[in-house]
Symmetry: C2
Subunit: 157 residues, 2 copies
């Protein structure tokens, strides 16, 4: 199973770059892992939020393969403890999935079409984080989840 981390928007800013690289490298000891930053549509700044979401959604949907398991980070989703996330990833790994994709939407969220396509919606937190920080938190939590599955030390210190 390959873990793909998709986010919409700009490349990583410098204040999260090192951390994202650190935890992504650690994830790669457990699963093949890949980031994909989906560029914003041209003239994004001039588009209305709803139009922008639909355009971003079209790019996202056209990038997905039929059997990709899509986990959307969405505030209306289910929340996890770190242990529950670990169990969830382990279950997916037991289902012979080829790609599990964690998707961080754009600044205004994602379109209804993407929400409908998602196999699972995960609410990361009651708090609102900037997208750049969500990338770092996501990488760290997936690494933590892997480490919990193997009952390693990291989770306990």
């Amino acid at each position: 199973m390959k873990i793909q981390l998709w986010s919409v928007g700009k490349p990583n800013e410098s204040f999260v770059k090192e951390g994202i690289e650190l935890f992504t490298k650690r994830i790669s000891n457990y699963y093949a892992v890949e980031w994909k930053v989906i560029p914003m549509p041209k003239n994004a700044g001039k588009l209305e939020a709803n139009i922008l979401k639909i355009k971003e959604g079209e790019i996202i949907l056209s990038s997905l393969l039929k059997d990709d398991y899509l986990i959307l980070l969405d505030e209306r989703g289910k929340s996890f403890t770190s242990e529950a996330l670990s169990n969830f990833i382990e279950q997916r790994a037991g289902e012979s999935l080829k790609n599990v994709i964690f998707l961080i939407g754009g600044a205004f969220g994602v379109s209804e079409f993407v929400i409908q396509r998602a196999n699972f919606k995960w609410s990361l937190s009651n708090l609102v984080f900037p997208h750049q920080l969500v990338r770092l938190i996501l990488a760290e939590q997936i690494y933590r989840a892997c480490s919990i599955s193997r009952n390693e030390q990291y989770h306990h210190v």
Copy 2:
């Protein structure tokens, strides 16, 4: 009102340093703000968790002034949305407090004495984060809270 951010342990690691500095500087546009890293007791690695917690707790308690308002980050605490955190900080600012301290405990948590001294316990998340990342998240959320209070743009993009 001064906001103090206390944490137990090592200095900031490089993967969070830039982000912590960035958001702390931004907080300083709203409140006087200061970080304090409480060093771990000598031979910390050789001490039992309970002894270590008590020793760390003694250092924390002896560093507090009588009227300091202590917010302990604790998984058994109350959780906030970013808006609720913003209201909470605004309320504290309305109470003529001199110091509001957010305390991130040590690797094994804090002693009962510190828990009893705390004026408020805040559960940051259902997820477990490494202490270094908690520092970054805390700085960002306090900046966000300030920005929400002033109804500025940051929270909405």
